[in-house]
Symmetry: C2
């Protein structure tokens, strides 16, 4: 299977010779391992990534199916990732007595390593271009719907043929360049994963929300696991060696990981929608919720605990939007998008000569207008969509549960294909899992959230709006929220399971006030959703598919495809940046950590774990702790190794700075930076703070 | 002068007999001392406020010209008010060594009492109805402008005649019922005011923002001062005696103080504007600023200190708006406003019979439509007005300073009457005082505020808006903010004084980037302000004047006039309320204080002052600390005494609960409550926590 790769590598290397900055920008790119940026690396860094190097890095890279990336870092199946990637597993393994997520975990010996529940890791063992096979399956003259079915059937066939469940070989045909290419990815699948080491959350996420997406930074966001097969650690042929020296300012580094999703193909009109309407509107809501939950949390410690997770996730989103919006507001970056689009428009115009037989041409010619029209409608409908269908006007668990029960009673009797998406047969198990989950739902928190969102609904649509009047039923938002939340029974998992299983009659008979509210709202909610799906989403999907095809016709695979949570190679320089006229240096140190904690009064998110206070004098405080580089990353890259030319680990990606949040739409290397833990900090902390010499030895090859 | 009062009292008492709930609602009313709610008090409480009682309470009441209320509480000129009313004076008297605002102050002996800087107290010594005199001054057939002048001339004449500057007698003709009545108020003026006692801010404002506007509450928001004349404490004929027993649940109490401003005459259309547009829009901004400053504060202690005051004031406004909006969203309250308006509309319709010679009739008939039209326009212009003229698009001190310099250079050469209001001769001194003040302005805080508000501007108007493009000058909001803030010189008070004094040429020559920004914005800002003033404010002023006259014609002084920061009498019951189905009892205790502090981890705004921790065992923990009553109060009432039927002090107003924030528009007694410090808590704290027995003795008449 691997035979395909050298050829591809040669071809793309040749293509690389013709590359110009027209295609990519500086250190841009989330490249396919079978189509790496040879030309850029050669031109700027005089580096040649040969096949051996590429295979080694790819086979040392690990995908976490829970979301996130990792890498093998010892011959004995040791995997390095982020604390925040391992957080779910740490939480699942925690007990009342042992809070591993908060306090960390350290298996001194192999038999102490803790087996994760339900975690699956994948290693990409093979890549094969099956584009021709997939396209051949489509019969000439097939309607789009038939073409889709024929393509899917072929893909299923290819996957089935390649998969070897008995050998834990999984096969996925991945769609790249929005259908420009189809590659068959085969993975080695591992399901016995054990936790070896995790530090305290307090040092893994030092600085909490205030320092989230910020730089300078001081986080030991690291977690080590080990992969087992047949109850024994696997033996790795490929793993990344540890760099003794770490990286230095100006050095070329690589990131191998799984960026989740980018939207770099967005048209200028869609970006304008996001810049002028979508992001600002969302931020209004996030601000509102942050203030609501923040103020409520301030009223009592109990409130604070109840709202903590939700508040953090809102703050996280808020920061992300601020960063993304700031990027969209940067005329330099935006100007590049305009120029890129112009190039594509010109290509399409040229291609549209008489007699041109390009199946995408008609759609591509109309595509920019189609998107523009859809975005205009989106701007008109976004409020109603957000309030009614996304539920921002009834923001609480109880409402969403009630609506799910109501809709389930209406949708499930229909044939699978006619149901609302989330009630399709394939999605039902996860819908039921969520619906029947017994995670605690707090009546007081539900009430303030619903009261506030009913107010938001009423002020958005106007208190005299018909639906608002029906929803409020002659009461103030606060009184109505109290009545609904205290009156509904759906917070009881047993009640909702009974209602779900009882079907329409049982849901109707329940006369539950929250379900009755959902009933009042549902016709309008379904109507706006339908308009979104048919008049916005579907035309856009078609337009973007045509544009992707035009782009692929224009540039082929001289450029990298948008991120799809498949393995990619990014590259860049260890490099600081300028902010408000000041230099932000690339590295921080342990010394900086202690200073940051002290200047913040060692409080809250800046409180150091006890060990870190006690062991301070043992540490070499000049040890580099975190650093930044220009590599092109995005969510999903968490836990990716940062390696040098010799494919040695010099760091571990765990965040991007706030300026990097525009990378969803466009690459930037002026200020956008990937943030990593320095490999030297990991070793120093393992030895001096955690007495984990055996682990440090294993990483550095000094294994006893 | 006082002779007028008995007659009025008799007349209104007679009128009272005909009162029905049509006019006022339960314990509603901020009543004039010369027109008290005799009928209501008699009907509901079997209480008769005779002239002696009224005179005594009035002459024991004190107005703080810095804003706020107080009362005489000993024969030796001791005045009681709130810590937050005295805060300005405590701050002015604080030094680096003695932070009286934070740590409190206690003069054990008279010679230790600290003289305030620039504080003036007034006692209302006389009230005379001069309506007839004032109205007589208007010549028949005078144009409105002439009528205004003639009236003002007469008022000036009356005031001049009554004032006795050599005896510190001040005379003001106050306009009541929006011109339905003119009363001559004479005041005894005191200017030698000394601080006797203030507790720590931490206990005065225990609970900080989280507990602000909330109940149950635990604040010792009290401050004592003493009035001197000729360097000796004055001897008070009238002062309020201390109640030994305090108040009890269900008891009738009175509040004598100076409510600042109410808008209970707002038409339904204006209330709808506020409910559906004005408040929600303002809250969007407040949320945004709270999140911005909160997140920035979280980044460092220094940031937190720099943003503290501004952040608190934003949080305070946010809570106030949430409360007000919740009231407007209450269909019960709103329905009452609709009904009230209907009654007035019917009265006007009836009055409009052929031959009716009522000067207000024409305007009153059109008034509802005039206001509705103005509110419609306000909804259209509010964004632009807020962004450009109110400066929300350029939210930082530097911009406001720069604009003031620019406008001063343009306005001051004009004749006084043609200038923008704030540059009129009368207002110039205070404008200069503010402009030249050397309060610190922080470059970093200015930059994040400006960057955020430029983003707000761009997302509000659209990044492609012409003015936005000019303002951003091809840069991102963040880069542009940095460039402007680091480039301007106006943060230096000397620079701005020189520019102000140098006039137009010097301002033009400065080429200061922030002044140049103000120049870019000013044409549009002035244009939208002009539309606001001429098409919204002025027509509304005229419409409301006509409606006030119609209302006065309808009800006369059977109702109380809107608040005007003049002395008023409110009454009510000590009474808890129901919230979310739970009873909120009327009283809290010291025990509750300690519990609240403990449950909040004794941290932040819930940290107790050292003394309170040390002296806990000495205190009777069952002492009532704060309590609520239904009296009709609003901002300006801070520091008002709460008294019983015997005019004895049982409490001290310091806040309203969040449900009381609707009182700006309409009275409510279901949940709205005035919040007071209990008189018993004051004595217990003075004796046991502060060793201020001499002060407690003076208050309780046990003076040594």
């Amino acid at each position: 299977m691997r035979s395909r790769i050298p050829l591809l590598a040669v071809v793309t290397a040749l293509l690389g010779l013709f590359m110009t900055p027209e295609y990519t920008h500086g250190d841009e790119g989330m490249w396919l391992f079978n189509n790496p940026p040879h030309a850029q690396l050669k031109a700027k860094y005089q580096f040649e990534a040969d096949l051996k190097w590429l295979d080694h890095v790819r086979l040392s890279s690990v995908r976490f199916n829970s979301g996130g990336s990792g890498s093998f870092v010892s011959a004995d199946g040791l995997v390095m990732t982020n604390h925040h990637v391992g957080a779910d597993d740490l939480a699942k393994l925690s007990t009342e007595k042992n809070n591993y997520l908060r306090d960390g975990f350290h298996a001194k010996t192999r038999d102490q390593e803790l087996k994760c529940k339900g975690l699956e890791l994948n290693v990409l063992t093979g890549i094969k271009d099956v584009t021709a096979d997939v396209e051949k399956a489509v019969k000439p003259g097939a309607t789009p719907a038939d073409a889709f079915k024929q393509r899917q059937a072929k893909i299923g066939e290819i996957e089935k043929e390649a998969a070897k469940p008995d050998q834990n070989i999984r096969a996925d045909v991945v769609t790249l360049y929005a259908g420009g290419q189809y590659h068959l990815y085969t993975f080695k699948k591992y399901t016995d994963i054990r936790i070896v080491f995790a530090p305290e959350k307090q040092i893994a996420f030092f600085g909490g929300d205030p320092d989230n997406f910020e730089y300078p930074r001081f986080d030991l966001d690291v977690c080590f696991m080990r992969v087992y097969e047949n109850d024994k650690p696997i033996k790795c042929e490929h793993y990344l060696k540890w760099s003794a020296a770490g990286s230095k300012d100006g050095e070329l580094v690589f990131v191998s990981g799984h960026p989740g999703r980018t939207s770099r193909g967005n048209t200028v009109e869609e970006l304008k929608y996001l810049r002028d309407t979508g992001y600002p509107y969302l931020m209004t809501r996030l601000n509102r919720l942050e203030v609501l939950l923040g103020a409520w949390s301030g009223r009592s410690e109990r409130n604070a605990q109840r709202a903590e997770d939700e508040l953090f996730s809102i703050q996280n989103s808020r920061k992300a939007r601020i960063g993304g919006l700031a990027g969209l507001m940067d005329p330099g970056l935006f100007g590049r998008k305009v120029k890129e689009e112009q190039r594509l428009k010109e290509y399409i115009a040229k291609a549209a000569k008489p007699g041109a037989d390009l199946p995408w041409l008609d759609d591509a010619e109309k595509a920019f207008d189609t998107v523009a029209k859809a975005e205009k409608l989106r701007a008109e409908l976004i409020k109603e969509m957000t309030l009614l269908e996304s539920g921002a006007g009834f923001y609480c668990h109880s409402f969403m549960i009630a609506r799910t029960l109501l809709r389930a009673s209406e949708e499930l009797p229909k044939p699978g294909g006619e149901r609302l998406r989330e009630f399709g047969d394939a999605r039902l198990p996860s819908l039921k899992f969520q619906l029947f989950s017994d995670e605690p739902i707090y009546e007081d928190l539900e009430t303030i959230k619903l009261a506030d969102s009913l107010t938001f609904l009423a002020t958005s649509l106007g208190a005299d709006h018909d639906l608002v009047k029906k929803v409020l039923a002659g009461k103030s938002p606060r009184d109505r929220a109290y009545e609904l939340i205290s009156g509904t029974k759906v917070r009881d998992p047993k009640v909702r399971e009974a209602l779900f299983n009882g079907g329409k009659k049982s849901v109707d008979d329940a006369k539950d006030p929250m379900i009755e509210l959902a009933r009042i709202v549902d016709p309008a909610a379904r109507a706006v959703r339908k308009r979104f799906e048919t008049e916005i989403d579907e035309p856009k999907r078609q337009a973007y598919a045509a544009l992707a095809k035009a782009k692929f016709a224009m540039d082929g695979d001289k450029v990298y495809p948008d991120a799809t949570f498949t393995l990619r190679l990014a590259f860049g320089t260890v490099k600081g940046y300028k902010e408000d006229g000041k230099d932000v240096p690339p590295f921080t140190t342990f010394d900086g950590l202690y200073k940051r904690s002290a200047e913040q009064g060692n409080k809250g998110p800046f409180e150091l774990p006890k060990r870190w206070v006690e062991r301070k004098s043992k540490l070499d405080l000049s040890t580099p702790f975190n650093f930044v580089c220009t590599a092109d990353i995005i969510g999903g890259n968490s836990g990716s190794p940062v390696i040098n030319r010799n494919s040695e680990v010099v760091g571990l990606i765990f965040d991007g700075n706030i300026q990097s949040l525009v990378l969803d739409f466009i690459f930037d290397e002026e200020q956008a930076r990937a943030v990593s833990v320095d490999s030297r900090a990991i070793i120093e902390a393992l030895r001096k703070v955690y007495d984990a010499n055996e682990l440090a030895d294993e990483l550095t090859g000094k294994k006893a």
